[in-house]
């Protein structure tokens, strides 16, 4: 059964939902429209799955429900009456509890102190009074832990359980689980998922946000799919299938992109990574990228994808091994990498790729002061600005002028500025970490085309991408990374998304 019109009253619930979201839009300063009229009903006793690609608007929706952001237009109805949460505390006191991917816990305090943090009751903090309450709480989610353990000593998964317990201790009417399993091991996941189910059984409305569609299948009663800030599909258990979710998340764009996948020439080895070991792992990685080749790295969060790219670029210390680019060994520093012709597009583009307060033109010349300056190290502003104008035209950067601050650009346009920083200077190797994260569909298609063009110009490209459909449509070859080591390698034509997913998860 598909609820096509979300505003229609649900047939089998007479009472009003815990939280009804009516036609919410959200526009950020800078003009990014994150939500375009979303309506949802979150009902008591139901686990509601929320899925969508990065940049689909999930995180904005979560922030609105949690009271972190306010919608630009639209209404929130809490138990039938209109609300306007101005800060997280408002939502919390109404009965919303949030568990994030990595919820902040206070490492120096004990489990018990963390669970009742900010909720110590009046007067003196007497731990012994809370122990019975804590035990009951643990029993409800079938989890055992010593309440006096210091949180710093816990595993990531146990910390996640502590933050779930903390959320439950507030006796919420609505629990928001935002990728609660993303950073924890499969064994620990069962506990988190079980907790979510048992809370719904106790009459709480649960929102479950995840990229792991099998988990969504496992525990959700109904699912909403977001794409580009819109609700594109909604279904309950009867209509639920992974295919349908994928179709909703991905839309039509992959088919378009896939259709134009070109055949291109692959040349000599341009990047040779030999026995490279990062500081935190005891396994080493060797891989080669040829001119014109796009190599993908697939792995789960925490498999060492980003560390590998950063170690190749010299951004993090290397424990052992060497990196050879175009026949020359690079010493381990970003400076050496840049002058050796390596470019790096980091995942956190505002934090690591750009200077947010600066205009487009000062950002595009950030990495190439040598060819953009005159004698005696005088800046050549005219040349810099010509380059920025050219980048804006050729890459289709939407901005009122090259004097726009990059902080005011949308994700895709900001990412194009990061690319522009590198592609107009001579380089041999391009390292891309989640280049399309937080980028809208149109921007994504542009970036994928750009990456392919760069490969055709003979640049060797190494790319980390969490969305495997997109990854396989882009790359020639994909290496699977697990626990910091290369597990296996596939030709992109010879592997399906399902096989790759299984391999990455250690199932094959």
């Amino acid at each position: 059964m598909v609820v096509v019109s979300p505003s229609a009253p649900h047939p089998d619930t007479a009472e009003s939902p815990t939280l009804a979201i009516r036609n919410i839009t959200k526009i950020y300063p800078g003009g990014t429209q994150a939500l375009r009229g979303v309506s949802l009903s979150l009902r008591a006793g139901v686990v509601h799955g929320l899925v969508g690609a990065n940049g689909a608007g999930k995180s904005t929706l979560i922030k609105i429900i949690a009271g972190v952001e306010r919608p630009t237009t639209g209404d929130l109805l809490w138990l039938g009456s209109s609300t306007d949460w101005r800060r997280p505390a408002d939502a919390q006191s109404a009965g919303v509890a949030v568990v994030h991917q990595q919820s902040p816990v206070v490492p120096a305090l004990s489990v018990l102190e963390n669970v009742y943090l900010g909720n110590e009751g009046t007067g003196l903090w007497r731990p012994q009074d809370r122990l019975a309450e804590f035990a009951a709480l643990c029993e409800r989610v079938a989890f055992t832990i010593d309440p006096h353990t210091i949180v710093a000593e816990l595993s990531v998964g146990d910390r996640q359980m502590v933050s779930i317990l903390r959320a439950l201790a507030q006796n919420p009417s609505l629990i928001l689980l935002d990728e609660p399993t993303a950073s924890i091991s499969p064994a620990e996941r069962a506990g988190v998922l079980g907790a979510a189910r048992s809370r719904a059984a106790a009459g709480v409305a649960v929102v479950f946000v995840s990229h792991f569609l099998n988990e969504v299948m496992q525990i959700c009663d109904e699912v909403s799919v977001l794409r580009d800030g819109q609700l594109v599909d909604e279904f309950d258990r009867d209509g639920m299938s992974v295919d349908r979710m994928v179709a909703g998340i991905v839309g039509d764009r992959l088919h378009d992109v896939e259709a134009i996948k070109p055949v291109h020439d692959i040349g000599d080895v341009v990047l040779d990574v030999r026995e490279l070991r990062t500081a935190n792992t005891d396994t080493s990685v060797s891989l080669q990228v040829r001119r014109g080749e796009i190599v993908g790295i697939a792995g789960l969060l925490g498999s060492g994808r980003t560390s590998l790219l950063r170690a190749i670029f010299g951004a993090d210390r290397r424990a052992a091994g060497e990196v050879v680019v175009d026949g020359k060994t690079l010493s381990a520093s970003p400076q050496a990498a840049v002058s050796g012709g390596v470019a790096f597009v980091p995942e956190d583009r505002m934090g690591q790729g750009l200077i947010g307060d600066w205009e487009i033109w000062r950002n595009t010349s950030l990495a190439d002061s040598r060819s953009l300056s005159r004698r005696f190290r005088f800046l050549d502003v005219a040349k810099e600005r010509l380059l920025a104008s050219r980048a804006r035209r050729e890459l289709g950067i939407v901005a009122s002028s090259i004097d726009t601050a990059v902080r005011d650009l949308s994700g895709g346009n900001a990412q194009k500025v990061v690319f522009a920083k590198w592609i107009y200077k001579t380089h041999h190797v391009l390292l891309l970490d989640e280049p399309t994260a937080g980028v809208d569909v149109a921007g994504k298609a542009d970036l994928i085309k750009l990456i392919r063009d760069l490969a055709e110009r003979g640049i060797g490209i190494l790319v980390v991408l969490s969305e495997f459909e997109e990854l396989l449509s882009l790359v020639d070859r994909v290496v699977v990374l697990r626990h910091g080591a290369i597990e296996t390698e596939f030709s992109a034509d010879a592997v399906s998304v399902a096989e790759l997913t299984a391999s990455v998860g250690g199932l094959a």
Binding site: I27, Y28, P29, G30, G31, Q33, T72, F313, A315, P334, Q335, A337, V338, S339, F344, P346, G351, Q352, G353, L354, I355, G356, D357, W358, R362, L366, A367, S369, S373, F376, R377, F378, L379, V381, A382, K383, R385, L386, S389, R392, R393, G396, I397, V398, A399, S400, S401, D403, D408, S410, K421
Partner: protein, 413 residues
Amino acid sequence: MTIQKPPHDQAQSIGVGARLRSASQSLRPQRAGVVYALVLLVVILVVTTVVMGQPTYLSSTNISNILGQVAPDAILAVFMTVVLISGNFDLSVASVAALSAAIALKTIDTIGTIPAILIALAIGAIVGFANAILVQKVGVNAFIVTLGAMTAVRGVVLIVLNGESVTATSRDLVTIDEVVLSFPYWVGALVGIGLLALAVFRFRQARLSTALPLDGFFVALIIAGIVTLIISFAAPDLLAQPLPVWIMVFVTVAVSLGLRFLVPGRKLYAVGSNPEAARLSGINVNFYKMAPFVLSGLAAAAVGLIYAGRFNSVDPNALTGTELTVIAAAILGGTSLFGGAGYVGKSVLGTVILFTLSNGFNMLNLGSNYQYVVQGVVLIAASAVYTVASRSRNRRKLAEAVSAPTPAPAVEG
């Protein structure tokens, strides 16, 4: 300089109005507040002195007097601004200056003038380098490192002076402080005309859409040109100043131009704005974080020499508190404590404001008891203006974004 021939797709030109509009941005209170504050302060003082029947406030003597007092602190403020732009902090400058003065006066009679000066400067550079290593390589917070350096170096001053003040028989440092360089009025006139000519050149250049839009630099050229012309014809005796004042002028102009027109200047701002992005763009972040400390130490030592020459004597508590005056001056000038933003010229104006305040208090016989209260209030008020102004600008941007949800497509064809 050459005018860049634009390629035809960029050939569209920008009208006079649009050019002036972009220049007028730099006249907003949050950008030029320090200039308005100084003008307001001077007007108040001029009016009050006239009303109270005292000698004219804006006499050449009084202005020279203020400039002479301002010069050492202004030189420190220039380099403090450089340190602040790089995203760091230096509390040790006053102690270093005192140590430099003490060492120079202690050694000058035995080892000669030049060696004494070199030793004093070397000590400044060494303290600066030690600060740099501890902050950038060891990773200790700059506030703590330089607070420690401030205390420890002051301790060294006490040890060196053994608790007493010291005087030298050599008059060389005094001569350096007192030597007056004077320029004939026509040199000033030529400089003024030159500055205005540069402004005209800049204005014509900004016609091209690829050229940098007119900004505060253009406005500063015009103001500096007019002020220089007025001085040259109305008060040419202001062109005769002791060496420290000319050093201040030279350092301010040279560092501002370097920050604006040279690659290292751009990189300094980049490193201060976002060190990680700068590092991942291949910029030598260590160098741009460390060099300002060394420069600051050197400048502090040089200021110590000026101080030694001025009094030909130094006592253990010399210059105590100057580091805070200097930081206050930089903040009055709109320098960010978080790095990546600031202009040395405005910091110098900030220094002038602080000294004009205390000078005015003396002129009006208001009692120096009140002057610290007023200085403190001025400092906080200035920061409040900067903060509120930038917040309201963000809010305006948000309002614009909401009223026009779809970003306008690129206008350029």
